[in-house]
């Protein structure tokens, strides 16, 4: 635990990444952490792809039969399907088989430790089955996967959890809250007078001198997607985890990193992931929606949209 002025922070590991919790009333940090622990445990049990006892693992193994699900998993799945719908299927939760085919069928730390991963399935799996193959009866809390669809909620679950934690903690402790789950940032409650300061860069674990830009937000969320961090080698070639649903392969994007600010963290993450998949067309798409974004090409040049603050050339990625 760290306290700077009135702001207290707590850093811990969750979902195989680093979580940071900030509150504007230092005495609230303990209660805030307790709430975060409970909510994050619920999310992990609902949708971890690497826990055999998770609801997602049971659903993926159900062979297309309907499965009863918890309210939490129903919400997570509804959020993933909404992201797919709003991006025209560019952020698709049915990429589980594609990721497993690329060797990403275990915890990422274990995958990386493996070195050059073998392709465990039959090689490229082709286009993903598509989010419309997920039959969710949200009211009845039942779901069925058609045509061999396998889910991975990695593109949305972390951001959804950040929003949920920030909202619930702010309600309970009645102060400003920031929750960062592996760089997916959600804020709620009364922010600090100058807003929350967020360093935007390729890797959420980068040192503070790493190239990037510092911005402030006072509400909503900010998320960053990149092809440069969650990478591993497969049969001698480097691959990453952002799947282009139209090919079932890692997206070949002109952007190495995209950061987006939105009204919620999950919307920010939905847009940043979709932007990686869309490539050059993402600029017009983000502009038309009105989403402030920072897009970094592989050569480090930066494009911004919709009011994202001017990027000092000396501070470029």
């Amino acid at each position: 635990l760290v306290t700077t002025g009135a702001i207290a922070s707590d850093t811990f590991e969750v979902f195989g990444t680093t979580a940071v919790l900030l509150v504007t009333r230092s005495s609230a940090i303990g209660q805030a952490r307790g709430t975060a622990n409970r909510l994050l445990a619920e999310v992990d049990l609902a949708c971890s792809r690497f826990r055999p006892d998770s609801e997602l693992s049971r659903l993926n193994a159900a062979g297309g039969e309907p499965v009863s699900i918890s309210a939490t998993f129903a919400k997570l799945l509804a959020a993933a399907l909404r992201a797919a719908r709003l991006t025209g299927g560019d952020v698709d939760p049915t990429c589980g088989r594609a990721l497993a085919g690329l060797g990403y069928d275990r915890d990422f730390a274990e995958l990386r430790a493996t070195g050059d991963a073998p392709a465990r399935l039959m090689g490229p799996v082709g286009p993903v089955p598509g989010w419309t193959r997920v039959r969710l009866d949200r009211g009845g809390r039942r779901v069925r996967l058609e045509h061999g669809a396998q889910l991975d909620l990695g593109a949305t679950a972390k951001a959804w959890a950040a929003d949920k934690c920030a909202d619930q903690i702010a309600d309970e402790v009645d102060c400003g809250v920031l929750v960062s789950l592996g760089g997916d940032v959600a804020v709620a409650g009364q922010p600090p007078p100058d807003g929350w300061e967020i360093r935007v860069t390729d890797d959420h674990a980068a040192p503070e001198w790493a190239a990037g830009q510092t911005v402030t937000i006072s509400s909503g969320g900010l998320a960053t997607s990149s092809t440069t961090v969650r990478t591993w080698t497969l049969g001698g070639r480097q691959v990453h985890h952002i799947i282009d649903p139209s090919t079932g392969e890692p997206a070949r994007s002109c952007w190495r990193t995209v950061s987006v600010a939105a009204g919620t963290c999950i919307d920010a993450n939905t847009a940043s992931t979709a932007a990686i998949v869309r490539g050059p067309a993402a600029l017009d798409w983000l502009h038309d929606i009105g989403l402030p974004a920072r897009l970094v090409r592989h050569d480090g040049t930066v494009e911004t949209t919709a009011g994202w603050p001017y990027n000092d050339p000396g501070d470029a990625a």
Binding site: A166, L178, S180, D184, E197, I198, G220, S225, S226, G263
Partner: protein, 102 residues
Amino acid sequence: MEPGYLAARQRQEGQSHDTRTAAASRDAALSRDSGVAKVTALSWRAGAAGVVAAGLLTFALGHHAAATGAPSGHQNNQGSIQIPAQPPQQGAGSGQVTSGAS
């Protein structure tokens, strides 16, 4: 003809003319009253229909506004990606947290 007869005839014709004029006036008045009544009835119907339509429109717009209004907290607008209340501002230093991929 005797002047008295002519005078009587003229009076009789004048009375007959007056009678016809009065009858025509009555008919016109009745017709006018009928027309006014019809217009009044139509106006009331149109007005009532307008009131009903305005009520329905108000209800529909109110329902739509409630469905699409700015959500509180991080509730998601189902219909579109939610833009931020304001864009990020330029900050300084290394930031309180880092947003990057994980």
